[in-house]
């Protein structure tokens, strides 16, 4: 139960950061926090079950996924900053309707 509360708190903190931080890199970091919360939650649910190894395998996959995601995300941020000189979320509104 305490794990659920921990993960919910982590996820909410991450979401709060994603929605409020102005720096794109910080937003990416907060998204990592959310992903981490989800990973911990998945492994915690798997812990008491006979196929707990599957949950741990999922955790490893998710860490790898998070690393790949961070790499791609940071590359995009660097590319956008290079081409437009902007790295703040509120400046990146080219797709406004």
């Amino acid at each position: 139960m305490s794990v659920i509360v921990l993960c919910a708190a982590l996820f909410s903190i991450g979401l709060y950061g994603v929605l409020t931080r102005r720096e794109v890199v910080a937003v990416l970091a907060c998204a990592e926090v959310m992903l981490g919360a989800a990973t911990v939650q998945a492994m915690a649910f798997a812990a008491g079950r006979p196929d707990a190894a599957q949950g741990q395998a999922l955790g490893v996959v998710l860490v790898a996924l998070a690393a790949a995601e961070a790499a791609v995300g940071l590359a995009v941020v660097v590319a956008v900053a290079r081409s437009s000189g902007r790295s703040r979320v509120e400046d990146l509104t080219e797709v406004r309707g």
């Binding site: 409020t20 979320v89 509120e90 990146l92």
Partner: protein, 602 residues
């Protein structure tokens, strides 16, 4: 022959096929006339065989609407058969005559194809077993009339005359369509058998309304006052067409219609009174206009209006068999006069009475046959016009001596104007132009045949009345003698007056004063009606444009566009381009969905 008697619909199919055949062969098809002869021949053969054995009928369901079924079919009785014979005979004369008259015209094949289509439409009108089929044929002959009046469409006057004929008859047709709708509402059918059977049970007001509406249609087609204004201008068409459509057959369709649905009019005395009054007014007005016209074809056009007025007066007096007999004889002698005029126009290139004259020496056959037609029109015994006009006059006189006297005046004017036209065109000396000469056999044979009919048709008075289920009334001798004397005197006076040439118009007009001028302008009816249309139609159109078109129709179109744009504006406010805003919306959406899911599964 027997095939035609058992399958009279061939009388529609054969001419239609001939017309399509000619049209397919294209512009340079010299043999078009040979194919076109098939059309009137089939009408003639069908009419003759149906006279021998009438009664063939058949019908097919055309449209089913709810529990009611619209049927079209054919039914050939004596009336249809006689009408088919008239159409076939005059049509045959006209087609043969046209081979000479239209020779070398660029529209040669178009002309004959249209004649075939006209014959098919007229046959459809005549053999229809119900008002629906009749109305279809009615509109088709109107369309053919439009196309043939405007045959030389590169002439602006012909194009506008065609338009006018089409629009003016449309006024009557609209009323007729309302009458049909009324009958359909009352009886649930448009076939003559059902409708005429139901007439005695209908309230008088309904029958009167139906009769008046049908008469309005007939008045438009048959050029009765005040819808007569299209017929004089219809003379822009080729003269053989005027003979066939605008003298003998199509314009007589109104008379045919009234005769066909006679029980409706028999049960509507008010409608008969109206018909009698309009018929006499038309006959008198048009005859008095005819004495002033200087154009040969226009004299004949007003004469046709006047004679149709006499027929309607006869119908109004209740003597539909006499009126129909006058239709038959009129078809013969008026077609003859028109073809005679065509012969004159073809030979001289002119139709102005002041430019003709002295033609009897150059064109003896045309002159002789014309004189037969003129005498028949004037009602001189023993020619056909005498018998038929006398029958109508007798019936009208019995109903009302006032209207009867007016018709005697019409007889007088008729004898006067036709003598005037005859003397000015054929008598005296040639006044201008080069040497005219008689046409070939294609011109003279139809004239001679029609002249024989115009002279001799009086003999069929009794058999015709009997075929139509009545009997020929014995004529009132005193009336016959009186009218004939009046007509003969008028003809003699006209001959004495116009012997000296067209300058006599001046003497007559100074004698008649303003009446002559007024009649010369056809009493200004055309001006008044055209002016009325010119003022009211644009006014109504503008009012409708401002109210309905601008507000309702444009409003709907522009409103739709405006609504879409406004809705788009509302939704596009959501698309701020801010990724965090999207993420927040997504989170909110997920929360809402989770909440809903929890609440539902609880």
């Amino acid at each position: 022959m027997s095939a035609l008697a058992s399958a009279p619909w061939l009388v529609i199919v054969v001419p239609l096929f001939a017309g399509v055949f000619i049209a397919v062969f294209g512009r340079n098809f010299r043999g078009a006339a040979w194919a076109a002869v098939l059309a009137p021949l089939s009408a003639l053969a069908c009419g003759v065989s149906a006279l021998a054995s009438p009664g063939a009928s058949g019908s097919v369901a055309w449209l089913a609407a709810g529990g009611r079924v619209l049927e079209v079919g054919y039914s050939v009785d004596a009336l249809s058969a006689i009408m088919l014979v008239v159409v076939g005979t005059v049509g045959l004369a006209v087609v043969v005559f046209s081979t000479a008259y239209m020779a070398g015209d660029r529209g040669w094949t178009r002309y004959f194809a249209l004649l075939c289509v006209f014959t098919a439409s007229m046959a459809g009108l005549v053999i229809a077993d119900g008002l629906l089929g009749l109305f279809i044929g009615w509109e088709l002959v109107g369309a053919c009339s439009y196309l043939l009046i405007g045959f030389w469409f590169e002439r602006p006057s012909a194009a506008s005359a065609a338009m006018k004929a089409f629009l003016v008859t449309r006024v009557g047709d609209a009323a007729m369509l309302v009458g049909l709708a009324l009958l359909w509402r009352e009886t649930g059918s448009l076939s003559f058998a059902t409708v005429l059977h139901a007439v005695p049970a209908m309230p008088t007001a309904t029958v009167t309304a139906v009769a008046l509406l049908l008469f309005a249609g007939a008045a438009g087609k048959s050029a009765q006052f005040p819808l007569h204004i299209w017929l004089p201008e219809a003379m822009e068409g080729p003269t053989p067409v005027s003979a066939l459509i605008h003298a003998a057959t199509m314009v007589a369709a109104g008379v045919f219609l009234v005769a066909r649905v006679w029980p409706v009019f028999a049960a509507a005395p008010v409608a008969r009174e109206v018909m009698l009054a309009i018929g006499v007014v038309t006959a008198l007005g048009a005859a008095s206009v005819a004495i002033t016209q200087t154009d040969l074809k226009r004299v004949l056009a007003y004469s046709t209006i006047s004679q149709l007025g006499i027929m309607f007066a006869g119908l109004g007096a209740g003597a539909w068999r006499a009126a129909f007999f006058h239709l038959v004889t009129h078809a013969a002698f008026k077609a003859l006069l028109f073809l005679g005029a065509g012969s004159v126009i073809h030979a001289t290139g002119s139709q102005e009475l002041s430019e003709l004259g002295g033609l009897w020496r150059r064109m003896p056959v045309t002159a002789a046959t014309w004189c037969v037609g003129a005498a028949a029109l004037a009602g001189l015994p023993p020619l056909s016009g005498f018998w038929s006009k006398d029958g109508v006059l007798d019936a009208v006189w019995r109903v009302s001596p006032v209207w009867g006297s007016a018709l005697i005046l019409v007889s007088m004017l008729t004898a006067w104007y036709v003598t005037r036209a005859t003397v000015l065109a054929f008598g005296g000396e040639r006044r201008s132009g080069s040497a005219a000469h008689e046409g070939g056999l294609a011109t003279t044979v139809p004239l001679v045949v029609l002249a024989c009919l115009a002279a001799g048709l009086g003999a069929v008075r009794r058999p015709l009345a009997e075929a139509l289920g009545g009997e020929a009334e014995p004529a009132a001798i005193a009336l016959m003698v009186g009218v004939t004397l009046v007509a003969a005197l008028a003809a003699f006076a006209a001959w004495r007056t116009y012997r000296s040439g067209p300058e006599a118009d001046g003497r007559v007009s100074s004698r008649l004063g303003p009446i002559w001028r007024w009649a010369g302008e056809a009493y200004g009816v055309d001006t008044v009606l055209s002016g009325f249309a010119r003022v009211t139609v644009p006014a109504v159109a503008r009012a409708l444009h401002d109210s309905v078109d601008r507000r309702v129709i444009d409003g709907a179109v522009e409103g739709t566009a405006k609504g879409a744009r406004r809705a788009g504006g509302l939704v596009s406010a959501l698309q701020s381009g801010d990724a965090q805003w999207y993420a927040a919306l997504m989170a909110a959406g997920v929360i809402v969905m989770l909440a809903l899911g929890t609440w539902v599964s609880r």
